[in-house]
Symmetry: C2
Subunit: 241 residues, 2 copies
């Protein structure tokens, strides 16, 4: 690569990273707004989420196109290639977080249009804050190329799974006590499920950050080995694969 091409490549790489961070910021806001619509019944927020979802979709396609072009034109080195391939995978997870946020917003609308307030919403609110923080932490780990921070997000996903199971039990109890709430409770279950999925996607993105920095693919390796590899240590036999 000539010096000029090299400089151009790094500028383009930087733009790709910034666009991805921008997309992540939008998704974070979508999750918050969807949950806010659920708590407050402010349905203008639902429209806002749907508008942003289109922007997120547009960014997904644009970033993917940039990545293909950058690889095709520049024959990047191992490290830069890893970064580009990782962003390409992270993009998919980020876009799906956006989809889940949109589902939450739509269900918030349905719940409010059918009237009534729901007790388990408080619990979901907590879960939502938790997974939003996970998205933010994945983005931070990505921006700062910090695999140890990323491994923390992977660990946090276990917490989300616990909260999800707890919420599910809680909502089921609620339905059994008052079967008239069945239809609306199913919507709440889907909201909890959407939050749990967002946690999963944040975990996937963080695993990609570890791969980006360390070159180790930590998917399906178990949390202990993920943490070891994130610190740059060797993995140990765990039979977790």
């Amino acid at each position: 690569m000539s010096e000029h091409t090299n400089k151009q490549f790094h500028t383009d790489l930087e733009t790709t990273r910034s666009l991805f961070l921008e997309m992540g910021g939008l998704v974070e806001a979508m999750v918050q707004d969807g949950m806010e619509a659920l708590s407050t019944g402010d349905l203008t927020l639902v429209d806002k989420v749907r508008e942003r979802e289109k922007e997120v979709n547009r960014l997904e396609v644009e970033i993917d196109e940039r990545i293909s072009l950058l690889i095709a034109r520049n024959q990047p080195t191992a490290v830069d290639l890893r970064l580009l391939l990782s962003v390409s995978k992270m993009l998919t997870d980020m876009e799906r977080c956006g989809d889940e946020a949109e589902k939450i917003a739509k269900m918030a609308r349905r719940l409010h249009e059918s009237g009534g307030r729901y007790e388990p919403v408080v619990e979901l609110r907590h879960m939502a804050n938790f997974v939003t923080a996970m998205i933010r932490d994945s983005l931070d780990a990505f921006a700062r190329l910090d695999p140890v921070h990323a491994a923390q997000v992977v660990r946090n996903d276990k917490e989300v799974d616990k909260e999800w199971k707890g919420s599910l039990r809680h909502i089921i109890t609620y339905m059994i006590e008052d079967p008239r709430t069945i239809s609306r409770s199913i919507d709440l279950i889907f909201i909890a499920r959407a939050l749990e999925r967002i946690g999963d996607h944040a975990k996937n993105m963080s695993e990609r950050v570890i791969y980006m920095v360390r070159g180790d693919d930590v998917r399906h390796t178990g949390i202990k080995n993920t943490e070891r590899l994130a610190r740059g240590e060797a993995a140990e036999e765990e039979n977790e694969i």
Copy 2:
């Protein structure tokens, strides 16, 4: 590329394609076995699904590694690069189909261990056959590089969404009529949801096949434009994005 390198590259590309098709075959069998376990209560099938899920995870990591190496070493042309980047994305969807199949198998186990047979299972069986065919059709479209066939899968996903909504209504009615079935019915809802997700993933994979062959990114473009682009025609304004 020298002739030798070129030949080696094409052999490696072929291996990557075959491994992906193998992975797809495993996932297809997992969905079928999971549903079979649900219908018959044959829980040895659940273990079989879980074994295969590990193999699918292993293949995902192996294929991704091959793709990175192929890109880094061979600086593939636009067409080959598009193929490799597409397989990389399809891999993620395929692995998640495997995850959903595993969830179905685990819920089949729980439902049978808690005893009882459930009326709505017949309906889910139909949905399962439909989405399994969608996975197979995506793989066929991929193997034969047939974008028109792929567009049919994208269209079929709308059918799955209808079946999902129908099943959901049916199961909710069932719960309201007999609230004692609430807990078990929730499991059935999750099975239906898992099937609906598998349909989504098959759709995503088919969209990648269209991109692979035509170079047009048809995500978020709406079904009519997807079909036009798959046939090699120009897209029209639809305001669907």
